[in-house]
């Protein structure tokens, strides 16, 4: 991996973006943060998020000057409290609605899901505004205009389209939403612009899409061929209790088809997992190559194998972590067994066992999220930044100040609704 960063740094010399941070410092920051998250039952996350951003921003050097993150943990905390103020009545309303009479009661789940989906996208846009207005470069602020509600509506409609087209609309969704974001993004007084084409991304991503969906299509085809539809209709029409056995009786080939379907589904999932880093690299390269601020434009030379390298390191550290946890867990079990031999049994023992399981679970989850952040996310940031080639840098010499800091409500909502980013 050291090789990789050297390679990437070499291209950065003329690309004008360098990442100065060390992995060691980032690991230290994350591990300390994970421990404090456990101790504080998660409240430390505002401090950890701020530390992470300070580190990433401050160590990213563009044309000889580093970025600066000026957000504070207290802003995030207050944003979260504001979000709670909004969400508590909303949740209470849905709870009461679910108990309500008739159609409203039955639909309340759907309404709640739709409302929270819109609110989540609203939060995403406002959180982006918060992060941009806390990003300082050369003494000037980034900022973001536009309407979060308009964005949320757009985003939800696009997600719907993407779901209905089995993902084929996704490139157009990305392009459209990114255009909206970027044309409302400013560095000082110069506006951003996004020129990426959805069609181009679709064209490049189509082979991957086909590889994942071909096995699924084969499965559907096999079902259509193998199932004796008349027998199936009869079995369902008979209205007996024992529908399953009738279906099986009418379709002797069905068992084989089900095995085939499971194999194909497994293939599709495996392929999707294997192709995911390539897809991520593709999208990242496409996205960053479409960005521009005034005359300053960007092209990306991100390599797929570097992204795969990051995932390989993630798996490697994850394996080491699992081994360490297994050893610790075995020791813990033996200790508990010894204690239980002499100590309280029954209910107290049950609670102790549940508590231990809980702690083990929290450590596993936090451990993996820490490893993921320290390997994949850091590498994506570093590779994404260092693979950029900037042109028209002289545009940066005559920018005027603009924009004011925004509230952290969006961050709070995104946090409470679990749609946060970096």
């Amino acid at each position: 991996m050291r090789m990789t960063s050297l390679e990437a740094s070499a291209t950065a010399a003329h690309g004008a973006i360098r990442f100065l941070g060390t992995r060691r410092a980032y690991w230290r920051l994350l591990v300390r943060g994970a421990l404090l998250l456990i101790v504080t039952l998660g409240i430390y996350r505002f401090w950890l998020a701020t530390d992470v951003r300070r580190f990433l921003w401050a160590n990213t050097e563009v044309a000889g000057e580093t970025l600066e993150y000026t957000g504070t943990p207290f802003e995030l905390l207050i944003g979260f409290l504001m979000a709670i103020t909004i969400l508590v009545p909303v949740y209470a309303g849905f709870f009461l609605g679910a108990l309500g009479l008739g159609t409203i009661g039955q639909l309340s789940g759907v309404i709640a899901f739709a409302a929270l989906a819109v609110l989540g996208q609203y939060a995403v846009y406002r959180a982006r505004r918060y992060r941009l207005t806390r990003t300082i470069y050369r003494g000037l602020r980034f900022h973001q205009g536009g309407s979060a509600s308009a964005y949320a509506l757009r985003a939800v409609l696009w997600w719907l389209a993407t779901a209905l087209t089995l993902g084929l609309a996704y490139p157009f969704q990305l392009a459209s939403l990114e255009r909206y974001k970027m044309r409302n993004t400013y560095y000082g007084d110069i506006a951003g612009h996004f020129a990426g084409s959805g069609l181009r991304l679709l064209w490049r991503g189509l082979p991957m899409w086909l590889m994942v969906f071909a096995p699924l299509a084969l499965t559907v085809g096999a079902f259509v061929m193998a199932v004796d539809w008349k027998a199936l209709g009869d079995a369902l029409g008979a209205g007996s209790d024992d529908v399953m056995s009738r279906i099986e009786g009418g379709n002797p080939q069905l068992a084989g088809v089900i095995v085939f379907a499971m194999l194909m589904a497994g293939t599709a999932v495996t392929l999707a997992a294997l192709l995911y880093p390539a897809f991520q690299a593709l999208v990242l390269r496409w996205w960053s190559s479409g960005l521009s601020f005034g005359e300053l434009s960007v092209t990306s030379t991100l390599r797929m194998r570097h992204v795969y390298g990051a995932y390989v390191r993630f798996l490697w550290y994850g394996l080491l972590f699992c081994i360490a946890m297994a050893v610790l867990g075995a020791v813990g079990l033996v200790a508990v067994g010894l204690l239980a031999g002499s100590g309280p049994t029954g209910a107290a023992g049950e609670i102790a066992a549940t508590g231990l399981l809980l702690i083990g679970y929290v450590i596993m989850a936090l451990g993996f999220s820490t490893i993921y952040r320290a390997t994949v996310l850091l590498s994506l940031w570093q590779l994404g930044m260092e693979s950029l080639q900037l042109s028209g840098l002289s545009a940066l010499d005559r920018v005027k100040a603009g924009g004011t800091p925004s509230s952290a409500l969006g961050e709070g909502l995104a946090d409470a609704l679990n749609v946060g980013g970096y």
Binding site: R54, A365, A416
Partner: protein, 367 residues
């Protein structure tokens, strides 16, 4: 060293200016290459900002413009750090602030746990009796649907409820008679619906709104009709005390406390679930004792053998509810049995069902 080099941004434009920085008596004096004074920053208005390790980045506190001064000379940076109050390169002040945060959040955790342990059950206890019957029935229906999907794991074929097929009808009649006797004695303000379901465990449960499930395993394990009646009486105790609604209110309160207030750091949802199950199993202990007392009194009143509840409890190891696995040799079950026997009246001459009816009830799930 009283002067040094720096890079200055005035916060108005992005122009990068190489400047000379002089340590004045009361503040930094920043001058351009041509010697023109660009800015004067009093030492108590200078703050240190996030920057890579090799750079000291300074700004002016409370200034609307984002003026920045960057010093790369480590020695000169150290001198400025020593003079400026709000520059904190060692991170000492930041560490102190964080320790305060940790202290407060540990205190918050303790208070949260106390509320979860004492406050939530107390609130549920007081709120449950105030629930209107209509809402309680709705709650019951919602819980009923979930419980059915959880419990109903039989193959398609015979229904989940016993007693619907012709060969099961006499059993159903016997069961209804037993329910009727107990209900008349209990005289509850809300209608109770009891059914036998096809589950092999020796168990029973009461849902909010007066729905009682008796598992076929319980009827198979029982030696007399009074033993079945004893467990139903215990469940009627849960209905009378509105324990089902209390459990729902408690679950809601706990998921609100842990889920909403703490937010969801990785895997928080699972933590919430586990925390809830631990806390709820501790709530149910007192509820079980109260339901035992109610059940015993009800059996006395209905003319049944109240000791049958104790003997049934002994057989099924104290687990009157699914998920409550307290071993028989545990003192708690022994204490429950002793308490029931203390309260039980003398054994009546007549069993709750005659021999024929009891034989029919045994076959309620035979179809």
């Amino acid at each position: 060293m009283t002067t040094g080099a720096g890079i200055y941004f005035d916060g108005q434009t992005s122009v990068r200016q190489d400047v000379g920085v002089a340590l004045g008596a009361s503040g930094l004096e920043i001058a351009g290459r041509d010697g023109r004074l660009l800015a004067q920053w009093p030492y108590d208005q200078i703050e240190g900002l996030a920057a890579p390790d090799s750079v000291l980045r300074l700004g002016r506190r409370g200034s609307a413009a984002l003026e920045r001064l960057e010093i790369t000379d480590t020695q000169f940076a150290a001198i400025i750090d020593a003079r400026a109050l709000h520059v904190d390169r060692t991170g000492l002040r930041q560490r102190r602030q964080r320790i305060r945060v940790i202290g407060w959040s540990v205190a918050a955790t303790a208070s949260l746990l106390l509320v979860a342990w004492f406050g939530v059950p107390a609130i549920a206890e007081r709120l449950a009796p105030l629930l209107p019957a209509g809402i309680e029935r709705k709650l019951g229906e919602a819980v009923d649907m979930q419980v059915r999907t959880l419990l109903d794991n039989r193959r398609l074929g015979a229904g989940f409820e016993c007693g619907s097929q012709d060969s099961e009808k006499p059993g159903r009649a016997a069961f209804d008679k037993l329910m009727q006797k107990l209900q008349t004695a209990a005289d509850l303000p809300l209608p109770v619906r009891g059914i036998v379901v096809r589950r092999t465990e020796a168990n029973a449960m009461a849902l909010p709104g007066g729905q009682i499930y008796v598992f076929r395993g319980l009827i198979e394990k029982a030696a007399t009709a009074d033993e079945v009646a004893g467990v139903i009486a215990h469940e009627l105790g849960h209905v009378a005390h509105r324990d089902g609604s209390k459990a729902v209110l408690q679950a809601g309160g706990l998921s609100f406390l842990f889920g909403m207030l703490l937010g969801d750091f990785v895997g928080g949802g699972a933590v919430v679930l586990a925390a809830k199950s631990v806390l709820q199993s501790s709530y149910s202990r007192e509820a079980e004792a109260a339901a035992d007392a109610y059940g015993t009194a009800l059996m006395n009143k209905a003319g049944g053998n109240a000791r049958a509840l104790a003997s049934m409890l002994e057989k099924i190891g104290g687990a009157t509810e699914p998920g409550m696995q307290i071993l028989l040799d545990h003192p708690e079950t022994k204490a429950r049995i002793a308490a029931i026997n203390r309260l039980a009246a003398e054994r009546p001459a007549e069993p709750m069902l005659d021999a024929e009816e009891w034989a029919a009830l045994k076959r309620i799930c035979a179809g």
